[in-house]
Symmetry: C2
Subunit: 239 residues, 2 copies
């Protein structure tokens, strides 16, 4: 990591609320229709000689496109049309009180990044195909230098968890439950594009509260923490 000096950094967000603080901070400007007719949105700018991109999945029917299919589509477009040196999947996540997580905590991802809702078989490599086990960059040193925690991202297409999802999360040591990281990690791995995930905790999956309610209550706090973390990461790579 000491020699890693990305010049074109692309922050990928699922929700506008998660992206807005960073777009404002760096005065990123929207490049209209860059991905048309597809829904993703591109914002770009520069900071101390580095190019900064913020890409959102976009909206349909007035709602942010969350989940794995939009994340897959956006990542393929980002890499083929922008070709960043580094993708930073920035956003919010659920986490587990049992792991010591608290609302607002900021985490960088540890490898591997997994799915927890793709059950396609137990033998012949199908289990591994479903779960994924995708790489991300080793952020141990960055996290230590910047004062963030590190954790394993585990991705599914639902805000809640079926029993089957929780079983796979436990089996694979999932700590940060989100809805995009593994899809982004899969596409990034196909192109060998370096990926880091920075996630702030909006809800505790084992905290006894309704996920949707807790998520909306803490979205603003967590998004602001993600923005601060992204700025620290940008500054880290300027050294």
């Amino acid at each position: 990591m000491n020699n890693f000096n990305p010049q074109r950094i692309c922050f990928m967000f699922a929700m506008h609320a998660e992206a807005a603080p960073l777009i404002e901070k760096y005065s990123l400007e929207e490049v209209a229709d860059f991905f048309a007719p597809l829904p993703p949105k591109l914002f770009k700018g520069s900071h101390n000689g580095k190019e900064i991109f913020a890409v959102l999945n976009g909206q349909q029917n007035g709602l942010d496109l969350v989940g794995c299919e939009p994340a897959t589509l956006t990542t393929q477009l980002v890499i083929s049309k922008i070709n960043p040196d580094l993708i930073v999947n920035a956003g919010t996540c659920g986490a587990f009180k049992a792991n010591g997580s608290e609302i607002g905590d900021v985490y960088l991802s540890k490898a591997p990044i997994n799915f927890h809702d793709r059950r396609v078989g137990d033998s012949g490599g199908w289990y591994e195909m479903g779960v994924g086990f995708y790489p991300c960059i080793d952020a141990t040193e960055i996290a230590k230098d910047l004062g963030f925690k590190t954790g394993h991202c585990t991705t599914g297409s639902s805000l809640d968890m079926a029993d089957e999802d929780l079983a796979l999360i436990k089996k694979n040591g999932g700590e940060l439950k989100d809805m995009e990281a593994a899809a982004i990690a899969w596409v990034a791995s196909l192109y060998n594009t370096p990926l880091m995930c920075v996630k702030s905790v909006t809800d505790l999956c084992d905290g006894g509260r309704a996920t949707e309610e807790e998520f909306h209550e803490n979205l603003s706090l967590a998004s602001n923490n993600v923005k601060d973390a992204c700025i620290k990461i940008m500054d880290y790579f300027l050294k």
Copy 2:
């Protein structure tokens, strides 16, 4: 539909075993590295003046890439690089004995095409966002003329069903359980590319047998039925 006369027809498959009979029938030739470095594979040829494309999701670690993320990626590539007049998602599916389905039955899709494992909220449009409700072409007349059944495709990322999946399948009238149709339908809808799904039944979700075993036992029969159906569909559009 009477005036619909597609000239560039792209058959999309998840598994090589599902595609092989059609590739052989029309002597389709592989276009090497067409999607490189990404895993999808393109085969092309022509039949009575129409261009035929067969696209597979490709493989990793020697296994066919099944599921919604590969289907999303492949559909975006197919439309942006081939721009077909019609996508036919051809493959196999699970179905329900309770609906009168039998192993080997051939179905064309009815709209809407849904997801059954994306639970992102119950209000404010989030339920609809998760489930999807994507369009496909009205195949009522084709099915009647060719002797196929019609049914609602419902898509998830797992071979089995969590209780939560079955609840959404029942709620939305899902009849043909597969792992790609809704992802393909979402991307196709973004481009307004016409889509038809042709599916043959490998397993009965309510038949009391293990899905994986029944699936592998009937894959060859169902793939052959899909091939015969695709040929009938091609001939239908030649009229």
